[in-house]
């Protein structure tokens, strides 16, 4: 269908190889390694203890946190849990695949022993009586939750400025936003405050901050990871995603949390392949390791309105893929531009319903009032932030009698179109690529009073949520702002439940990308030692 409306064109990016502006001054930096696999080796060989490891991370967290403010809560039992791991190692007990791994968890993912506020004042000090399924699975694999990361309230925002508590800074430039809504989780991994982290992605909330912070962000297929314990924003779009400093780490973390859950009726029963087994070391790759892979570059994502530096980074990523043996062509997704309005209608509609439970009756902030409607009104008015209120109002409007057909129903029809155009493009291509955001990280406050411009920044990511597809964002280059280099991420999209393919391509891409180091200056010196 697509080929009839467009002429696929073979793109050649000869000698347009990736320009990494932020290169290490003396030597070529090595490709990123999996922290999870490295520490496992060190722990098992007893080179390092889990307590020492945890201590190192906690120290770095303590030093960087005043600048970054990526955590809303830091666990006070990290060292105790690390001691327990050391005991297990000493006694040669069986160790899970995430043993000793320090994980940051986005604050909208429930943890039974820590507050879970979803970044909202209405849930201040709320402690759930249960762990989210994803958290439970990580813990079972031996992970240590280091703390809860900052976010835009209920996931509604693209900058983390919308948190009810604090503004998180981008580790690359403290005057810039880390992206959002999982800005805390992205910044924490970027600044090596934790090894990996969980985020959630409703319209790009894992992928855009991954791009802004120069880390790997993985949004799985809808249904791959249980949503049980994820504070709902838009139920039909929400997924829990993973951040890592390498593709392998994101993949290993995803593997730990994936799979059917009887507590989430929308979680898939599809088998979870062993994502972890394919992370071949870079020196064992042949010269064209991705030979024959068909890559479609989404034309609509490299057109006007997108930062030229971003476009050249993505074209550079395309040429890098070609060097690896891929065939790269431009593809068009005709319904692409419709995705954004459809997304904002559907997400707002669902959120207006999902957030009804914050009524001050059973938990959370309650304002004492003379009568019921005042109790509701004042509890919600005081507890919810302005962006959240705006989306609740929009969603309530879109679902109202007389407007439902014009908004909600039409948006659902657009969703079907989006899904179909992706299907057609992915019939022709193994993966699709695009930027993860139209620009690099922008200044704190820059879009604070311009919500429409902030919403427009989600153009690259929302379609993927509407289609429920998996997507991987990994750093591919830098743009040079006035003083510092800012990372740029490329987004790779595959058909549903093909995370394995994305991880394989992403890993090879990352391991063969020359001359780039995605460690922010804030911690680069410390890590170099």
């Amino acid at each position: 269908m697509l080929s009839s409306v467009q002429t696929p064109r073979l793109l050649r990016f000869q000698s347009f190889s990736l320009k990494c502006l932020h290169t290490h001054p003396t030597t070529t930096p090595p490709p990123p390694h999996s922290q999870i696999l490295t520490i496992r080796k060190s722990l098992l060989s007893r080179e390092i203890s889990a307590v020492d490891l945890a201590g190192t991370f906690l120290n770095r967290l303590r030093n960087t946190e005043p600048h970054l403010k990526s955590f809303l809560y830091v666990s006070d039992v990290v060292l105790k849990e690390a001691e327990e791991i050391d005991r297990k190692i000493a006694e040669n007990e069986e160790l899970g695949p995430l043993t000793g791994v320090l994980v940051g968890v986005k604050d909208n993912i429930c943890t039974s022993d820590m507050p879970s506020t979803a970044g909202s004042k209405i849930l201040e000090n709320y402690r759930p009586p249960f762990d989210a399924t994803a958290v439970g699975r990580m813990k079972k694999c031996g992970a240590i939750v280091i703390g809860k990361t900052n976010m835009d309230e209920f996931g509604m925002g693209s900058t983390t400025e919308g948190s009810g508590y604090q503004v998180t800074a981008n580790p690359w430039d403290l005057s810039r936003v880390p992206g959002g809504s999982s800005g805390g989780s992205a910044a924490a991994v970027s600044a090596r405050q934790c090894m990996v982290s969980l985020g959630s992605d409703t319209g790009g909330s894992v992928r855009q901050p991954a791009s802004f912070c120069g880390v790997v962000g993985l949004k799985p297929t809808y249904g791959r990871v249980s949503r049980y314990g994820l504070v709902a924003y838009a139920s039909s779009l929400d997924v829990i995603g993973c951040f890592g400093s390498s593709v392998a780490d994101a993949g290993i973390l995803l593997h730990a949390i994936s799979g059917h859950d009887k507590f989430d009726a929308t979680s898939s029963k599809k088998e979870v392949p062993d994502f972890a087994s394919q992370f071949t070391a870079s020196d064992q790759l042949d010269s064209k390791p991705l030979k024959g892979l068909r890559v479609g570059l989404i034309r609509e994502t490299i057109e006007d309105g997108v930062d030229p530096d971003v476009i050249s980074s993505i074209r550079g990523a395309g040429s890098h893929l070609e060097e690896l043996g891929c065939t790269v062509t431009e593809v068009s997704l005709p319904s692409f531009s419709l995705g954004l309005p459809a997304y904002y209608i559907l997400a707002s509609s669902e959120s207006s319903s999902n957030l009804s439970r914050y009524d001050g009756i059973r938990y959370g902030k309650q304002v004492f009032a003379d009568e019921l409607n005042s109790l509701y009104g004042e509890s919600r008015a005081g507890g919810l932030g302005s962006e959240v209120k705006m989306r609740i109002l929009m969603g309530t409007y879109a679902l109202s009698a007389g407007y439902y057909d014009a908004y909600y129903k039409r948006a659902q029809q657009v969703r079907t179109l989006v899904r179909e155009s992706f299907r057609a493009a992915l019939d022709e291509n193994d993966i699709l690529i695009s930027p993860a955001a139209p620009s690099a990280a922008y200044k704190i406050g820059e879009k604070k009073n311009d919500p429409l411009s902030m919403y427009a920044g989600d153009i690259m990511t929302v379609n993927v949520n509407l289609a429920g597809l998996p997507a991987l964002v990994l750093p591919c280059g830098f743009v040079d702002s006035s003083s510092v280099a800012l990372p740029i991420g490329v987004q790779m999209i595959s058909a549903a439940f093909e995370e394995e393919k994305l991880l394989k391509v992403g890993h090879i891409f990352e391991q063969t990308l020359q001359g780039c180091s995605f460690i922010p200056p804030l911690v680069a010196d410390e890590l170099a030692c």
């Binding site: 139920s235 989430d264 009726a265 009804s356």
Partner: protein
């Protein structure tokens, strides 16, 4: 989970909040709670009042109703007695202490998700088929949104535009005391939804003054909402429709249908129009109907109220509103006036996949359906039972089963019906027990009937051992043997006893032979006493007469 959860409640004392204003402003609601609490006390009075009102009210209504017709439709909520709630694994037991049967899902905690209990679908399909409905092979759940403290999520999971079943009917036989007759009432739709919690009102027990507390035990309990066509015309028809639904859910085993516990709740929509007018009048909804008789009385009251307003030229006083039936005052009062239609902003529930039924599944349920009340009544009718017997026996599934098992063993149909409706029913009523609680088995009732029929025992002895069987159990054969109760049919033995009685009563014999033949009863009684009740009465009388009338 329960333990963690208790901690959760303690951490959140906001379960209780001061609400003196709330109680006042929602006085009607308070009222509703109060009448529910005192329902057992009013229950007794209700019975006596019913007799008065059924005699007096219809007459008054009849006078008005000559020129008017009432149009009545009923929305019924049937609580399903599944082991666990609709979307979580909490059990539901009516009357448990508040908030002891709750979990993150039915409390609407952040991050909790509903997972459908497949038993709910099964119950819905059973009821849909029993109501002769068309089933939607692809239906879905929707969210119905409104704020209320007993609704934890701020929305109720329900079904909106695609109910699981629709377009059926229900056959009803009206009670004979109201003239009898058969009716067929249309069923618009049947859909699945979840129940809300309950508000508990407490007066000044605390420094806050009066409190409203929320009990979420009932939140998330599965319900079927059954909507009828506006086919009923009188209170009796409406009450009998509801009674038939109750019978149906009990026959199907999907619910206990207990109105007092709120397991079967009927909201009635009612309007009147001049006879011959096609369009409906303005409809009024009546709530708080705790029994079939209150339903019937509330409707008849409401009809006369509306007709009276018509007759007084005050049609504009009939407004679309919800009225509450007040059992004490025996009238309906305004609960809330509707200001336009409430906008529930329905949309498809994104947390639950669509509900898909296969033909095979539906067929397997269809095959597993028991005989339904209507089929049973028609079968009993064909067996030759009177309508009164039919209605009595088919009314209660357990009694019907008892009767069916008794007759399946070959017992005489009419005799079995008589025993069950007579002595057995009387015993159950006196002792306040159900037929499942008595010790008598259908097999032994059959045995008893047979033993009387073949004259092994007399009817009188039969009655005696019946009560023993009901109260203590055992077998007819065993009791007969144990108590030596076999009827005496030996002529010589009876003659001996007759001779002895006559010899012992020379005075009475003289009087008898002098013409006081009424004394035959005396002699018969004495002989029966002599035989310890075992003498065959026919034989006894025959021999006695012969001997009394014998000339010396």
């Amino acid at each position: 989970m329960a333990l963690t959860f208790l901690r959760g409640i303690q951490l959140n004392p906001s379960m209780l909040y001061p609400s003196s204003y709330f109680a006042r402003k929602h006085g009607v609601l308070y009222c509703c709670m109060r009448s529910a609490q005192t329902q057992t006390a009013t229950q007794e009075k209700e019975q006596t009042k019913l007799k008065v009102s059924t005699q007096s009210q219809p007459k008054a209504v009849d006078k008005f109703l000559k020129d008017f017709e009432a149009v009545i439709g009923i929305e019924t909520h049937v609580q399903l007695s599944t082991l666990t709630k609709a979307f979580c694994s909490c059990p539901y037991n009516y009357g448990s202490p508040p908030n002891t049967s709750v979990c993150p899902v039915c409390m609407g905690l952040p991050g909790a998700l509903p997972v459908l209990n497949s038993k709910v679908i099964e119950c819905a399909v059973r009821v849909g088929l029993a109501l002769n409905c068309k089933l939607s092979l692809n239906s879905k759940f929707d969210r119905k949104q409104y704020f209320y403290p007993d609704l934890p999520k701020g929305y109720q999971i329900s079904q909106f535009d695609i109910p699981i079943a629709s377009g059926g009917y229900l056959d009803v036989d009206l009670p004979l005391e109201y003239g009898g007759g058969h009716r067929k009432f249309g069923i618009t739709r049947v859909h699945m939804e979840e129940d809300a919690g309950k508000l508990l009102h407490t007066d000044g027990v605390d420094l806050f003054g009066s409190l409203i507390q929320v009990d979420l035990n009932r939140a998330g309990v599965p319900l079927l909402e059954i909507v009828s066509e506006p086919d009923m015309r009188t209170g009796i028809e409406a009450a009998e429709y509801a009674a038939e639904l109750q019978r149906l859910v009990r026959y199907l085993g999907v619910g206990n249908g207990n109105m007092q516990e709120g397991s079967l709740r009927c909201d009635v929509n009612i309007s009147v129009r001049p006879i011959g007018q096609l369009e409906f009048g303005t409809k009024v909804e009546i709530k708080n109907l705790n029994s079939f008789s209150s339903m019937s009385r509330a409707i008849d009251y409401e009809i006369s109220r509306q007709v009276e307003l018509h007759n007084q030229g005050q049609i504009d006083q009939i407004v679309q509103e919800t009225r509450l039936w007040e059992e004490g005052a025996q009238k309906t009062v305004t609960m809330r006036k509707k200001e336009g239609l409430a906008d529930y902003r329905y949309f498809p529930e994104p947390d639950l996949p669509g509900v898909t039924l296969t033909e095979e599944y539906v067929n397997s349920i269809r095959e597993s359906l028991p005989e339904l009340p209507e089929d049973k009544r028609r079968r009993y009718e064909k067996m030759g039972l009177s309508m009164q017997d039919v209605l009595f026996l088919a009314n209660d599934i357990n009694i019907a089963d008892f009767f069916d098992t008794t007759t399946a063993g070959g017992a005489d149909i009419k005799l079995a019906a008589n025993w069950i409706m007579g002595d057995i029913a009387a015993y159950m009523k006196n002792e306040k027990v159900t037929i499942n609680e008595i010790k008598l088995t259908p097999q032994e009732l059959g045995e008893l009937i047979a033993s009387i029929k073949d004259e092994t025992i007399s009817g009188k002895i039969g009655k005696e051992i019946l009560f023993e069987l009901i109260a203590k159990g055992g077998t007819v054969k065993g009791l007969i043997k144990e108590k030596d109760l076999v009827q005496i049919v030996d002529t010589a033995e009876i003659e001996k006893m007759v001779d002895k009685v006559i010899a012992d009563s020379p005075k009475q014999l003289e009087q008898y032979r002098g013409g006081k033949t009424k004394l035959q009863g005396y002699f018969a009684g004495q002989v029966m006493k002599e035989s310890k009740g075992k003498a065959n009465p026919k034989l006894l009388n025959k021999i006695l007469l012969e001997k009394l009338n014998a000339k010396n």
